[in-house]
């Protein structure tokens, strides 16, 4: 191209005022966006500070040893700050929930990915997302309304009991396990599955012996995430699990968890600046550390899994 037309266009462009782009603006924008991205770090930092602030003061007045080994959590009546009942309750309820939710969630994922025809998948997946979107308070209500009387009738459980929470939280985490495990299964390249089928494996054998082992890290990561969710679950426990100041393993009776207890105490009367008030933060700090460790492990696993397939 060239010649007369180019000259004319060139002449026209040259007569326009060049638009002045504010160069420092680019750097400014980049800086602002970086701050937004860093907000997560800032927020995490803020959480740690906020929790530690009162926790440290608290541990100045109540010995951490007594805190972490004491078996009675009765700060109001007895002045006892043993957090073991809460930790035990948390682990029992989260552990039980995971025993229910993981097999069911993994089964759902395997079924959806390996066996279900496309139409069934299109029908079921949105329903699982609906399940995932229901607020936990509704599940707490469900626990009280339906699960509790059933447990009472079948096992003679108390009205408020740990099993309520175990069952309901177990069901709540099914969508998490299902969706993440399904992603892990999908990430396994089809030629692996084909290789097994070409050797005469049935669909189940190919899935069980080749696909699942290959997706293992990703699946484990989903389990850990579900566990972390169960550990942090508050409303179901608050509504349906009751309150128990003693260390107990009886899931048919009331149990307290770290998260549930924080919410419960916060709704009561808390003289600001009291040990009781600060104990909230100590408990919160403990909870935070536990979930932080679980999530970190899950992330590491997920990265290792992704590396294996890149």
């Amino acid at each position: 191209m060239g010649g007369v037309n180019a000259d004319r266009t060139g002449a026209r462009l040259a007569s326009l005022e060049p638009k002045w782009v504010w160069q420092p603006g680019e750097t400014l924008v980049r800086g602002l966006l970086f701050l937004a991205a860093a907000f997560a770090i800032i927020a995490t930092f803020a959480i740690v500070v906020a929790l530690l602030w009162d926790t440290v003061v608290f541990f100045g007045r109540v010995s951490p040893v007594a805190f972490y080994t004491g078996t009675k959590w009765s700060p109001v009546i007895d002045g006892l700050y043993g957090v073991l009942p809460l930790i035990a309750g948390t682990l029992l309820i989260a552990g039980g929930a995971v025993l229910i939710g993981i097999p069911l969630g993994l089964s759902a994922a395997i079924f959806l990915r390996e066996y279900a025809p496309a139409r069934v998948r299109e029908f079921v997946k949105p329903l699982l997302e609906v399940l995932a979107g229901i607020p936990s308070i509704v599940f707490g209500f469900f626990a009280l309304l339906l699960v509790s009387p059933t447990l009472k009738a079948w096992f003679g459980a108390d009205y408020f009991n740990g099993a309520n929470a175990i069952i309901v939280i177990g069901i709540m985490i099914i969508p998490i396990v299902s969706s993440l495990s399904e992603d892990a299964l999908t990430a396994v390249p089809t030629d692996l599955r084909d290789g097994a089928v070409a050797l005469g494996a049935t669909r189940f054998e190919a899935t069980a012996r080749v696909v699942i082992p290959a997706a293992f890290s990703g699946i484990m990561a989903s389990f850990l995430l579900a566990f972390s969710r169960a550990v942090g679950e508050t409303m179901v426990v608050l509504i349906a699990a009751g309150e128990n100041v003693n260390l107990t393993f009886n899931v048919l009776g009331p149990m307290s968890t770290l998260a549930g207890d924080i919410a419960r105490k916060a709704t009561g009367d808390l003289p600001v600046g009291s040990d009781l008030f600060r104990s909230l933060f100590a408990v919160g700090f403990t909870l935070f550390v536990i979930t932080f460790v679980i999530n970190l492990t899950s992330d590491v696993l997920r990265h290792r899994f992704r590396e294996a397939y890149d």
């Binding site: 937004a36 929790l51 399940l131 608050l238």
Partner: protein, 287 residues
């Protein structure tokens, strides 16, 4: 070496397929039962009183959620206002600007760690920092700021997906015409990512609506007989009010609570429906 029976292998497969089906069966069955029993319990109380009365702990027939619904609307709006720019901004940085080095990994780890923090802990954070250290008191603003922190990672994650879905060719074309990076983003990438970003924001709002524990810890008031008058007003939110009713003995209060939950679910459903419809309609005019 003995040959394995084909029949046995087939039988094994059948057993396991049935087990796999059980996973879905239980999940869907519970969903159905839950919704059915919820509506059944709520039915007698689904009246306009829900919207016009304030909290009432003596007479179930006069109990309502007026303040709570207003409070929820206030909180959700403010939370969206704060979390969207922050979340989308972070997503833009992580997707468009960051070069994937160590810093990028730390930032991403930060986001995903924040996503895993239990909601009560956010409540404690809000209590310590916004209510007390900032001296805001237990007001709407404190609640919104707390929930902003909570919902931020979700907005980042969904916004990133939306931005990532924009084809590289669009960016290249803009840059090839002499646009600066930000110009390319602002004028090409973001509009192209709009449907996904809309979804991200609506889903973020949906998450906020159902959050109870952090607001309880911050100090949502449960006997509020006026509508919140501003960001500096004490407040109660819908799920918190529901929780208050659940705590009362007697089937009539279960009914009121259930009715509140129905309202909650309807609002959630409406948000999700808007998100999906909005995304579909915007996507029809896509590349």
């Amino acid at each position: 070496m003995r040959s394995k029976s084909r029949k046995v292998r087939k039988a094994k497969e059948l057993v396991f397929v049935i087990l796999f089906l059980a996973g879905i069966g239980v999940a869907l069955g519970v969903l159905g039962i839950l919704l059915a029993s919820l509506f059944a319990t709520a039915a007698p109380y689904l009246t306009p009183t829900l919207f016009t009365s304030y909290a009432n702990y003596q007479d179930a027939t006069r109990a309502g959620y007026a303040a709570a619904i207003a409070g929820t609307l206030w909180i959700v709006s403010l939370t969206l206002l704060f979390s969207l720019p922050l979340g989308v901004g972070a997503a833009i940085y992580l997707e468009e600007y960051s070069r994937g080095g160590r810093i990028a990994r730390i930032l991403q780890a930060g986001v995903s760690n924040l996503a895993g923090v239990p909601s009560v802990v956010f409540g404690l954070l809000g209590l310590a920092i916004f209510v007390r250290a900032f001296h805001l008191g237990a007001v709407v603003l404190a609640g919104a700021l707390t929930l902003t922190l909570l919902v931020f990672p979700y907005v980042v994650i969904t916004a990133r997906e939306a931005i990532r879905a924009v084809p590289q060719s669009i960016r290249d074309a803009a840059l090839a015409m002499g646009a600066t990076k930000w110009q390319a983003i602002r004028h090409q990438v973001l509009p192209a990512a709009a449907p996904g970003l809309l979804t991200a924001s609506i889903l973020g709002a949906a998450r906020t609506i159902g959050e109870t524990a952090p607001l309880i810890v911050i100090g949502a008031v449960v006997l509020q007989t006026f509508l919140p008058y501003g960001p500096d007003s004490p407040f109660v939110a819908l799920p918190v009010q529901i929780y208050a009713y659940i705590g009362l003995p007697g089937p009539e209060w279960q009914g009121v609570a259930a009715a509140g939950m129905v309202v909650l679910l309807v609002i959630l459903f409406a948000f999700n429906a808007v998100a999906i419809i909005g995304r579909n309609r915007l996507q029809r005019t896509r590349w």
